[in-house]
């Protein structure tokens, strides 16, 4: 067994968030540039230029690129040959979030009760997802997700008869309904299969795949291309003012499902697509 320190996990979560909220991943900046090159709407082009300038300014001035520094989503992939040096792994993740939000002046955006509200003041708790995988490493993937886009995400359990066309229609309806509110150009995570709770998690995992990296299965890689093209003909465009760049990327993740069901979930992220990862 390999021993991993819980404090190392805490520090890693902290450092990943401090960076994620301020410094855009190079592939996101590249996606903005690609979208600008093919955007026929002059206003859309102008907005894409502003997005590029904004992430450059955020990095230079050490400011969050967007004021909604989001809900903290942490995926831990724990190798089965790993042992932690002390109890309190999940508390360590929350502590890392707390430290990042304080040290980097990020926005506390979490309320302690959904109906009675009341800001927790430090953006905890994070949403933590744990998977056990073969090996002796710990992979930590973090996402900071603004709620404007999360609010427009949807799931539905279709009938198997709806098939691939039914899933595509649900995707297009969801993106059209999200319109300008999810801060396009979007990143789209599409989960297909599993069941009620798994399909939404699939969509979120799809969202945080390396931007634009195609699905390893050619069937789904082709669907990703076809559906992204269909999304980019809806006319929503940058900020919903009309144009081509409604989405920058679309990723699909799937799982086996019941003979009587076709679950689908579309998790939408805004253009401030913030995620980082590290391996311990």
């Amino acid at each position: 067994m390999r021993v991993v320190s819980v404090d190392k996990v805490r520090e890693t979560v902290r450092d990943l968030y401090k960076e994620a909220c301020v410094i855009a991943n190079p592939e996101l900046v590249q996606a903005f540039e690609n979208a600008r090159a093919t955007e026929p709407s002059p206003v859309g082009k102008e907005i894409l230029t502003m997005l590029i300038e904004n992430v450059e300014l955020a990095k230079r001035e050490n400011l969050p690129m967007c004021q909604d520094t989001g809900i903290a989503i942490v995926f831990l992939e724990i190798g089965e040959e790993v042992r932690f040096d002390r109890p309190g792994l999940v508390d360590g993740v929350h502590a890392g979030v707390r430290e990042a939000w304080k040290e980097a002046y990020l926005r506390a955006s979490i309320v302690k009760d959904p109906l009675r509200r009341g800001n927790t003041g430090d953006n905890t708790p994070a949403m933590v997802h744990v998977d056990f995988v073969p090996g002796d490493k710990v992979k930590i993937r973090v996402g900071a997700k603004g709620t404007g886009a999360e609010n427009m995400s949807k799931m539905k359990i279709l009938s198997p008869s709806a098939g691939v066309e039914g899933v595509k229609q649900f995707l297009l309806e969801t993106v059209k309904a999200a319109g300008p509110n999810a801060c396009p150009p979007l990143v789209l995570g599409v989960g297909i299969g599993g069941n009620f709770e798994e399909v939404t998690l699939l969509a979120k995992r799809a969202l945080y795949r390396d931007l634009g990296k195609p699905h390893p299965d050619a069937y789904y890689a082709d669907l990703e291309k076809e559906w992204l093209d269909a999304v980019n003909r809806l006319g929503v465009g940058p900020q919903g003012l009309g144009g081509r760049a409604t989405a920058l990327a679309l990723h699909i993740e799937t799982k086996p499902c019941h003979i009587g069901a076709l679950p689908v979930a579309v998790n939408i992220d805004c253009h401030a697509h913030r995620h980082k990862e590290a391996i311990l």
């Binding site: 400011l63 967007c66 801060c183």
Partner: protein, 190 residues
């Protein structure tokens, strides 16, 4: 910036009825910041016939919850939040006398109708430009509801804060017009 319409709140009916969908504006002077929780509290006061913490008649409300100011700065990151969530409160605020709101995303028909009825406008700032827009804010203070944290009622002094008219006082909607136009154009492209 050349050609942009300059606005200095408080705004009169005449200041906003001359604005049309798609006009670029630059706001300078005082602008108030409020989002979900501060709106809920203010509309409760209005419903009870009580005064608001500050007089917002003729003023501009920016739908924002900024990040905390790092040392040496007046504010952190400060872009618009989704306006649709404030649709529950906006008609009441426009009826009271708020002349313009600034947010991102579209508005529902009750808000569009309220703009026509009360001679007011809805402006958009570009969503996600938190770092950029913060540069246009020269001072910031909480004027009410400090217990709400970022959701407090803020008073900002802004200089040349850029916005676009999304819904004017004549009932037009920039989103509907833009998306319909581009959906048609893109459908025609192979």
């Amino acid at each position: 910036m050349t050609g942009d319409i300059r606005l200095t709140p408080p705004l009169s009916e005449g200041d906003v009825t001359k604005l049309g969908v798609g006009d670029r504006v630059r706001l300078s002077g005082t602008m108030y910041g409020a989002r979900d929780s501060a709106h809920k509290k203010m509309v409760e006061l209005l419903d009870q016939g009580r005064p608001l913490p500050v007089d917002l008649r003729g003023q501009v409300i920016f739908y924002v919850g900024p990040t905390p100011a790092p040392p040496g700065r007046v504010i952190g990151s400060a872009g618009p939040t989704t306006s649709l969530r404030m649709d529950a409160y906006a008609p009441r605020m426009y009826e009271y006398g708020v002349r313009a709101t600034v947010g991102k995303g579209n508005r529902g028909q009750p808000v569009i109708d309220a703009l026509v009825r009360h001679k007011a406008v809805y402006l958009i700032a570009i969503g996600g430009l938190g770092a950029t827009l913060a540069q246009r804010i020269k001072s910031a203070k909480v004027v009410a509801y400090p217990e709400l944290g970022t959701e407090a009622l803020w008073e900002f002094r802004v200089e040349d804060f850029p916005a676009i008219v999304a819904n004017d006082a004549r009932g037009r909607d920039i989103f509907k017009e833009g998306q319909d136009t581009w959906a048609r154009k893109l459908a025609a492209v192979a």
